[in-house]
């Protein structure tokens, strides 16, 4: 037993419990969490209203609507039925990754419909990689694939101006500068909005919410929102951000819509990560006199952070390839300027690719292929970043 009683002497002047401050911090945090969950519920309500009421009215009881409006309604219904069917199959244990997934099927259809291999193939590859189909393939095919794509990319990027030029009517001058910057700009705002709200909602649901029918309902709804087709989020964003909040066709409107799209995925993955923290860590912190907020902040979050970040990056890499919501919101297809503030109009990679693809000239379709590879490379980069982060932040118990 050592004699130095200096540090251990019970001197109340040295100990400041700061209980009140801690409680206030906790209350603010819980408030934020409740707010984000409320936002999720509002999101759901808006979806229900937007799709059920509006969509159903157009589908069944409005002959004055044009045939095209009707057909889009039918298409929505078919997509909804398909998604339900796939979810049902998934419940029964049938794996629907990759090519069998609705999006994969869409990509296959594209391949089938097109006679232009240069853009059809990378499109399909990009989609399947985004859906992580090669998980079953092992490592070697991955490497071969990456080498092939890189070679292709180098070949297409031989013209260095491709990355730094704006769109143009003349294929030789057309570049991908504006959509690339637009995509990065939008994704930055999306991440800044979706990450704190999503993680906050996950923390609230896992650590604070009582287990009752209400929290269970929120839980089920969030899981289901993760499976809602992205075009529906586009419709929601159009009504909510572009019209109701009068954000116009801005980067901000697009980013917020994308944030809604990825938030369910972020919430679910963050919840998984929080559940993986062993209970002994929580107990250890509680036993030292930590408040619930301190337990979450200093003992749970640091160890769930890696998993949360991985989930977030994977969700964002899904969002980066999404075209439908931005099409609905009104991302431009041809701009010769950069968005300078969040309220400027913008375009993103997939829309630019879509624009090029739909042109008759052979040259533009080659440029589209180059754009697809760029998109693919961004995706690969983000997914690799997720894998590296997961490895580096893994905690040994």
């Amino acid at each position: 037993m050592s004699g130095s009683e200096l540090a251990l002497a019970r001197d109340e002047a040295v100990w400041h419990p700061r209980l009140r401050a801690r409680k206030i911090t906790g209350a603010v945090f819980v408030g934020l969490c409740v707010l984000s969950v409320a936002l999720g519920v509002a999101m759901l309500a808006a979806l229900v209203i937007d799709v059920s009421l509006d969509g159903a009215a157009r589908l069944f009881s409005a002959p004055e609507f044009s045939p095209s409006a009707r057909y889009s309604g039918y298409a929505l219904a078919v997509i909804a039925v398909l998604v339900l069917l796939f979810r049902l199959l998934e419940r029964r244990g049938v794996r629907l990754d990759g090519a069998l997934h609705p999006a994969g099927l869409g990509a296959l259809t594209t391949v089938g419909l097109s006679r232009q291999l240069p853009f059809a193939l990378p499109w399909w590859v990009a989609t399947t990689i985004a859906l992580r189909i090669p998980r079953a393939l092992g490592r070697l095919p991955w490497i071969v694939l990456a080498m092939l794509l890189l070679t292709w990319a180098v070949y297409l990027f031989l013209d260095q101006t491709f990355l730094t030029s704006f769109a143009s009517r003349i294929p030789d001058r057309a570049g991908i500068y504006a959509p690339l910057i637009g995509t990065l700009y939008m994704m930055a705002i999306t991440a800044a909005v979706a990450f704190p709200l999503g993680v906050g909602a996950a923390i609230y649901l896992e650590e604070y919410a009582r287990q009752n029918w209400f929290s269970k309902m929120i839980q089920i709804n969030i899981a289901n929102l993760a499976g809602v087709p992205s075009i529906v989020y586009g419709l929601l964003g159009l009504q909510l951000f572009v019209r109701a909040m009068e954000l116009e066709r801005s980067v901000l409107a697009g980013a917020l819509t994308m944030a809604l799209l990825v938030m369910p995925i972020i919430i679910v993955s963050a919840q998984e990560a929080l559940r993986a923290v062993p209970p002994s860590m929580r107990e250890g912190a509680y036993a030292l006199g930590a408040t619930r907020w301190q337990v979450v902040w200093s003992s749970v979050l640091p160890f769930a952070f890696g998993g949360t970040l991985t989930g977030t990056i994977l969700a964002l890499s899904r969002a980066i390839g999404e075209t439908a919501p931005i099409l609905v919101i009104g991302g431009l297809t041809f701009i010769a300027f950069l968005p300078e503030s969040p309220t400027d109009s913008f375009t993103i990679l997939p829309i630019q690719i879509f624009n090029w693809v739909s042109r008759p000239q052979e040259d533009f379709q080659l440029i589209a292929a180059a754009g697809i590879i760029l998109l693919l490379l961004v995706l690969l980069l983000m997914n690799s970043a997720a894998i590296i982060l997961r490895q580096r932040t893994r905690v040994r118990w």
């Binding site: 251990l8 001197d11 100990w15 419990p17 107990e283 036993a287 408040t291 905690v395």
Partner: protein, 311 residues
């Protein structure tokens, strides 16, 4: 002390207690041990609910009166009453599932973390009932620390582990000095003083458990609860933890749950024996100075347990 009966001889052969370390506590008993045994034993236990089993001469740290714990509709503990002496080691013994850990977790309100748990009765600590709704359970956990069965250091550095508690409690003093002092008290300083920045997970199991004890000491609790602190450790590490418990008892009140009766005999001054009936509800069978419990128990079931006749 008391007349050595047959039970005393049996138990005495198993355990060794250094008499000079034990306070001389001559406790008056209302009736001889032999007369207490028999068929009306259970009725007597029923009658004795809410009553203190043993008058303590020592200062009292915690006063339990009629403490019952429920998990939903299941009664895990039924009317436990006894006094925990100050600055002594008190052992809670009994077979698995008798409610020892449940009882221990009442003292620092860890049962609050289980949504269905409910507690009745009272635990008086410095004149206040720990089970009152108005009591700040966070503040209680700072004054009543806990060490768990499995060493659970945070995956941080050794220094950060010890500093965690003081930091979250707003300690403004000299942190390195506090960490050093806590590690010294936990008899770990000499082994880790050069590796304070290394991960706590690199330590051996026994060192990790002593680190957890240092972590608990660092917030300057008055009482330290230990839930089978040595059950996951080898004999050498166990011995170190036991030495540590005896040393710490000079400054802290220690309550230890243990399956190991020799350990209870070696380290504790007082022992509470709990037993669960067929409905799995735990009850206090006997509480008293360890020496008496082990050499001359008043209850036949205590004797049976100590001599190894229970599972």
């Amino acid at each position: 002390m008391a007349e050595p009966g047959t039970s005393g001889q049996k138990a005495g052969g198993v355990v060794t207690i250094a008499p000079d370390e034990r306070p001389d506590l001559e406790t008056p008993r209302d009736e001889p041990a032999a007369e207490r045994r028999g068929s009306d034993l259970f009725e007597e236990i029923e009658d004795a609910r809410g009553a203190v089993r043993h008058e303590l001469d020592a200062e009292i740290a915690l006063e339990l009166r009629g403490l019952s714990v429920f998990y939903g509709s299941f009664m895990a503990l039924d009317s436990v009453s006894f006094d925990v002496p100050k600055q002594e080691v008190t052992a809670l013994i009994g077979p698995s599932g008798c409610g020892k850990s449940t009882l221990l977790r009442c003292f620092n309100r860890m049962n609050d973390l289980i949504p269905t748990a409910r507690m009745e009765g009272s635990i008086m600590f410095e004149g206040r009932n720990l089970l009152d709704a108005g009591i700040d359970s966070v503040g209680i956990r700072r004054r009543i620390g806990m060490v768990f069965q499995k060493p659970n250091p945070f995956p941080k550095s050794i220094f950060a582990n010890v500093a965690f508690g003081p930091k979250i409690n707003g300690y403004k003093g000299d942190m390195p000095a506090l960490v050093e002092e806590s590690l010294r008290r936990a008899a770990l300083w000499d082994e880790v003083k050069d590796d304070l920045d290394k991960s706590a997970l690199a330590l051996s199991g026994g060192q990790q458990q002593r680190l957890c004890i240092a972590r608990a000491i660092a917030v300057q609790p008055e009482i330290i609860l230990m839930d089978e602190p040595a059950s996951a450790l080898d004999p050498v590490a166990t011995l170190k933890i036991e030495d540590l418990m005896r040393e710490l008892a000079e400054d802290y009140t220690i309550i230890v749950v243990t399956h190991n009766m020799q350990q209870a005999a070696r380290v504790s001054s007082y022992t509470a024996f709990l037993l669960a009936g067929e409905e799995r509800t735990g009850r206090l069978v006997e509480f008293g100075p360890t020496q008496e419990i082990f050499t001359n128990p008043t209850d036949r079931r205590t004797e049976d347990y100590i001599t190894g006749r229970y599972g």
